[in-house]
């Protein structure tokens, strides 16, 4: 027993030494990075690509490289082509860093098939960080076809990338958005619900009119989360043909109903008001309160006050609160 404890003590002492060593190394590294950055900067300024390529095979120099300044006339394409093989064989952590650095230079890989294939093939990596960095790099390419290719591979490999990361990532794409939307729509049915949800959320946050296409999708969508996202789409993108369906959905599952009531906020007509008034007395708390919120938004104050005569305590409570909030906001 005592021997074991002695062994433990020895290992723990080693860890203390290791931690102290870490602090020391970190200090040294900070100084070294500055030195290495100067060296790399010199090579960049001299456009010495061969030497640069040799240096950047070491991760520490790659870190230094990411802090350097670049002039437009230096051709880094060949440099990254060479580094691709080196970093492909390194650990996932280093590979992820390489992609992070690479993504800072979209102009050099925009038409480089080798690099683009590398990014697509790593987009479905088991490492979320590598996958995300690859996608970030692909969002910077002008041709959106590569994003679709990556998405398709990820979908095929059942890559569990959070839909929010995907939709927020798509929003960073600065190329031909119409083409991207068209490609996403063409492939929509092939994606699983996670990717479909990401795509709809992306559509919801851009200013391209896809109401007609998405209305057809809404009518046929079976997945609950995706359908709710589609209903929300018609809140931000008014489409009169969708009104009837939204009204219909207020009588469906409560989550559809809540989303539909919120979407009806921007639709006019007696039928809308009638639906909202009916929803006001719904036994579901969420439906009732959302209906009150939308009614207070849509109706003039005197009509809202009229609503308080309703013989339903819960509906009255909901309207009173929304009235108070609207007064506070005013």
């Amino acid at each position: 027993m005592t021997t074991i404890i002695y062994i433990y003590i020895f290992i723990l002492l080693s860890m203390i030494v290791f931690n102290v060593f870490c602090v020391y190394i970190r200090k040294i590294n900070d100084c070294n990075i500055i030195k290495k950055q100067k060296k790399i900067q010199l090579l960049i300024d001299k456009k010495n690509i061969n030497r640069l390529g040799r240096k950047l095979k070491h991760t520490s120099y790659l870190i230094a490289f990411s802090y350097c300044e670049f002039k437009n006339d230096i051709k880094l394409t060949n440099l990254f082509d060479r580094l691709l093989n080196t970093y492909n064989k390194k650990s996932i952590i280093e590979k992820t860093y390489f992609v992070y650095v690479l993504s800072k230079f979209p102009e050099i890989y925009d038409n480089n098939n080798q690099i683009i294939n590398f990014l697509i093939n790593n987009s479905y990596s088991n490492s979320l960080y590598l996958s995300e960095n690859c996608l970030k790099a692909l969002y910077k390419i002008s041709n959106p076809i590569y994003i679709i290719k990556a998405f398709k591979k990820m979908n095929y490999k059942n890559c569990k990338h959070h839909y929010k990361l995907l939709s927020d990532g798509l929003l960073t794409y600065q190329g031909d958005k119409n083409k991207l939307c068209s490609l996403l729509l063409d492939n929509y049915k092939n994606f699983n619900s996670n990717y479909r949800l990401a795509i709809i959320n992306y559509f919801n946050r851009i200013d391209i009119d896809l109401t007609k296409e998405l209305f057809n999708i809404l009518l046929n969508e079976k997945d609950k989360e995706v359908k709710i996202a589609l209903i929300r789409y018609f809140r931000n993108h008014k489409y009169d043909f969708a009104k009837k369906e939204l009204i219909k959905l207020t009588k469906d599952d409560f989550e559809y109903a809540v989303a539909s009531i919120q979407s009806l906020k921007y639709y006019d007509g007696i039928d809308v008001i009638k639906t909202l008034k009916n929803s006001l007395t719904n036994s579901n708390w969420y439906i009732r309160n959302r209906a009150a919120e939308v009614l207070v938004f849509k109706l003039p104050k005197n009509e809202v006050i009229e609503l308080l005569k309703i013989d339903d305590k819960y509906a009255k409570d909901a309207i009173t609160y929304q009235l108070g909030m609207s007064d506070n906001n005013a």
């Binding site: 723990l12 931690n19 927020d168 409570d317």
Partner: protein, 468 residues
Amino acid sequence: MHELLEVVKIFLYYVEYFFLIYLFLYSIYLFLSVTIGSSTLFTNRYKNKMENKIKHNYYVPISILVPAYNEEKTIIKSVESLFYLDYKLYEIIVINDGSTDKTLDTLIKKFNLKKVNYPVNQKLKTKKIKNIYENNSKIRITVIDKENGGKADALNCGINIARFPYFATLDADSLLQRDSLEMLVRPILEDSRVIACGGFVKLANSVKLDKGEIVKYSLRNNVLVNMQILEYNRAFLASRIMLDKFNGNLIISGAFGVFKKDIALSVGGYETKTVGEDFEFVIKIHRFCLKNKIDYIIKYVPEAICWTQAPNNLKDLIKQRRRWYIGLFQTMVKHKEIAFNIKYKWLSIISYNYFLFFELLAPFIEVFGIVATVIAIMFNLLNLKFMILFFLIYALFGVILSLTTFLAQIHVLNLKISLLDVIKSSFVCAFEVTILRFILMFVRITSFIGYNKKKLIWNKFQREELNN
């Protein structure tokens, strides 16, 4: 007499083996947790440096619940610390659980709150809400004034009011760093199976924060506070990291954690009939998910740091520890089905058994050890030299374990640890192992005296003003 001596010898023989196995298992647990903890922290830092992280502008929206009972001294600074968070979308909900001091008035005055008639959706049954106040600022602050019902009841009330699909809990005497919430929420985007995350709770007594940034960090000249600093480090930078490796964390500290609201509602919220509501809540979530075959992860995030206050005198410390022990007992008994149940795999084999043998039963086993030692002395069977040597080795082991976790902080905190603090911490460890440990053992054993009276009151000790 000879027969009695033989009986005692046999008794002590088995006692010796029992303690050998017990201490062997305990030292393995401690050793593994410290080594795994330190190496994980080192790897995490390396990954972070190498951009192996999800850096996002918008994460999921969060409702931050701050239950408060007589917190007039700390509540404003605690809420204000939330304004400096590097997080885009969140609301703050303070639940005033029938405070008898000026907690409510202070909040209304400071944040210009107005009474609203919010129709509460009573998904979880709670004590009566007297009033709800809100303001119109960019970050919405809601204050619920309710009848006193305990911390669990206050949290349930907050869950009822929370507008967002995730809620975070924060003690009213705690402070967050700028990046704390972001760090805590990151795992949710990294893996959709994550339903709850717990942060690293550190003691605010040792830090000075300015707008969510650490300005100064050093050990205090109070041995009790310093002892707790080391103790928290051991728990949060070692044990929890190891348990996290197999989704086996049974606690997310009530001081700082984030949960998926629908799961919290599915398990019926916090249990109001226990004082260890945070512990019980997490075990309940584990059991619910396993029973319903939900693929889930409860994550511990050492990089998400929350600074909270600790008792700075022995009387308050004893009060706190009694409460913790009672909470542990209540929860362990309530969830006794997990014990030795293969259905719960590592959760039962390691997590539950650790709490059972090395936390709940530990004081009794220690007393048993002392009794055995006394018997051995009485019959002149004690190898005093060996006993002292063994005790010293074990004390040294404890000191080195604590020092390792104390130094491991450098991987999660951007701070310098002075040589003086390292020396101080060594002395504190020695004090803890040789003296304080026995005091706390006595406290735990006597916890049940007056148990019924204590079981549902708030965990209160004398607060200091927060250093931010």
